[in-house]
């Protein structure tokens, strides 16, 4: 399971580091989850995003600025994400002390922002953008195992006459972004990080349902998976089911009751995961 821990819960941790939302959650999961399964731990979701419906972006920016990580909230937020995440990871690793290999620690960045990756790699090394050292960012020098971005592809219109070519161009741009991220792992002394995707799939904002119903989406999804395969160890599709509509066809399937024959995206994922 991959959990995205609510951003405000860090305040509960700060108020009582030994008994708080994080310690309770870690204990619950350790007690209840099949011990053969791993726990992917992420602090919130898309903390780089301060758009409508993403108050966590504003929160981490403000916290980062107030802690002197940077004057710009956007940059300070990336550092604060690391500050919060490494503390969260430590709580889970302590709770799973005899089985820490089950805890998969994930720092999350933003696709297309090599800057964000740069800032977060610096933060893991207790460095700020201005070059100063701040050993309070990552006091235990914890080395997270994974770094996550998104692997969304596609153009703006899922019914465009050039949808196939647009798709390929978008896939190539994504690969370039992935390579930029990996370059920054090397450049900023965090080359132990393994790249994964917290979300991904088509990202059409118009006529997404047309794309999803197009049988060609099977081939396009296979192209996407094959292209990103060398760069990512994991991609988590967004989402399994989700009602297809023009403004978004996030679901690999429109609904649970949809037939396999009509669910081209789901069929591509299923075939991929089954080695076909």
């Amino acid at each position: 399971m991959w959990i995205t821990v609510p951003h405000l819960t860090i305040e509960d941790y700060e108020a009582n580091p030994t008994n708080n939302y994080w310690t309770q959650l870690a204990t619950l999961i350790k007690e209840k989850l099949n011990p053969n399964l791993n726990v992917w731990v992420e602090y919130s979701n898309e903390t780089w995003n301060s758009g409508a419906g993403f108050s966590q972006g504003t929160y981490v920016g403000n916290r980062g600025v107030s802690m002197g990580f940077d004057k710009q909230a956007y940059t300070a937020g990336f550092t604060f994400h690391v500050y919060a995440a490494v503390r969260l990871f430590k709580v889970f690793q302590d709770a799973f002390v005899e089985q820490t290999q089950r805890i998969k620690t994930v720092i999350s960045g933003q696709t297309g922002s090599a800057w964000g990756t740069q800032i977060q790699c610096l933060a893991l090394n207790n460095k700020l953008n201005a070059g100063a050292t701040n050993n309070n960012i990552n006091p235990n020098n914890l080395k997270p195992e994974y770094y996550a971005i998104a692997t969304y592809v596609g153009g703006s219109n899922g019914s465009s006459a050039t949808v196939r070519a647009d798709w390929t161009a978008s896939v190539n741009a994504l690969i370039k972004n992935a390579q930029d991220v990996k370059n920054n792992f090397v450049k900023y002394n965090a080359n132990y990080l393994k790249l994964v995707a917290y979300e991904g799939g088509q990202g059409y904002s118009t006529n997404g349902d047309v794309f999803a119903r197009n049988p060609q989406s099977y081939d396009m999804y296979k192209e996407w998976l094959q292209a990103i395969n060398p760069y990512f160890q994991l991609t988590c599709h967004y989402t399994h089911t989700g009602k297809w509509a023009s403004g978004g066809d996030w679901g690999a399937k429109d609904s649970t009751s949809q037939s396999l024959a009509d669910a081209h995206k789901y069929r591509a994922i299923l075939d991929w995961n089954n080695g076909r």
């Binding site: 305040e11 919130s44 740069q118 399994h240």
Partner: protein
């Protein structure tokens, strides 16, 4: 009459003798176990058994019987007794090629006369498994870093998964931009594909996931079988619970604010971790 009294006397003596001589005062002992002590290649799924020399029932330390791994972590198991056999049913599959210990402490069981197990009993065993040889990989040279032209940071996402997201303009970096390295196919094996779940407040809502008519205060399995089948067939390796946790703009700060398992998951804000 004398004969009758004599007969009663004889029967009484025999009865008394039987009671004294036949009284069992011995503690139960272990006759055998499966797996045997120091066994290897033990099944990761089969129940473990300990057979005693007589019928036993739960003793005062029954609850202290445990299956632990080599670091002392207790593995979940359902423990019961059937006549003279203690049965340890695994709740999950054991890990392959790992050492485990079944600990049956003194007084964990007792016989029908109340004689408790005198000494603790432990079985050590190792599970079956295949050792996967590490592939021989030719060492690769450290990628040579090549300076690149000034890299302008960008805050523009490839695409955002939800509408209406926007991003604060990015400041100019004051640090040297990243060098490039040769393309680095990092994954020797095939990339895994997991999935997120859509917010149950959207689209078809909870009906994609849950059976209807669930009693949330008692249910142990509210899931729609076709949903579970889809997950299994797709072999999703990771399930991300971002929207099910209502992570975006969450107001949850403390543990008592979380969604409880007993809440009505059709209408709750998010889905309980325990579901």
């Amino acid at each position: 009459m004398k004969k009758f009294l004599a007969l009663v006397l004889v029967i009484s003596v025999i009865f008394l003798q039987f009671n004294v001589i036949g009284k069992n005062t011995d503690s139960p002992t272990v006759r055998s176990s499966n797996p045997k002590q120091n066994a290897i290649n033990v099944s990761t799924t089969k129940a473990l058994t300990v057979t005693f020399n007589e019928t036993v029932v739960k003793g005062p330390s029954f609850s202290k019987i445990k299956l632990i791994n080599s670091t002392g972590w207790t593995f979940p198991a359902a423990i019961s007794i059937s006549k003279n056999v203690l049965i340890v049913k695994l709740k999950y599959k054991l890990s392959q090629l790992k050492t485990y210990y079944l600990i049956v402490p003194a007084k964990a069981v007792k016989d029908l006369e109340g004689n408790v197990l005198g000494k603790s009993y432990a079985i050590k065993f190792k599970t079956v498994g295949k050792v996967t040889p590490k592939p021989t990989v030719k060492p690769t040279a450290t990628p040579k870093a090549t300076p690149t032209p000034t890299l302008k940071p960008t805050a523009t996402p490839m695409a955002t998964p939800t509408p209406n997201s926007n991003v604060t303009p990015t400041p100019t970096p004051s640090i040297t931009p990243a060098a490039t390295v040769s393309p680095t196919p990092a994954t020797p094996s095939r990339m895994a594909v997991g999935t997120n779940f859509w917010n149950k407040g959207w689209g078809y809502g909870w009906s994609d996931y849950f059976n209807s008519g669930v009693n949330w205060s008692t249910t142990t399995d509210p899931w729609k079988q076709s949903f579970i089948d889809d997950l299994i067939n797709a072999k999703y390796s990771v399930l991300r619970f971002m929207d099910w946790g209502e992570t975006n703009s969450s107001s949850v700060k403390t543990w008592n604010q979380r969604v409880l398992k007993t809440a009505n998951q059709y209408t709750s804000k998010g889905i309980a971790y325990e579901c």
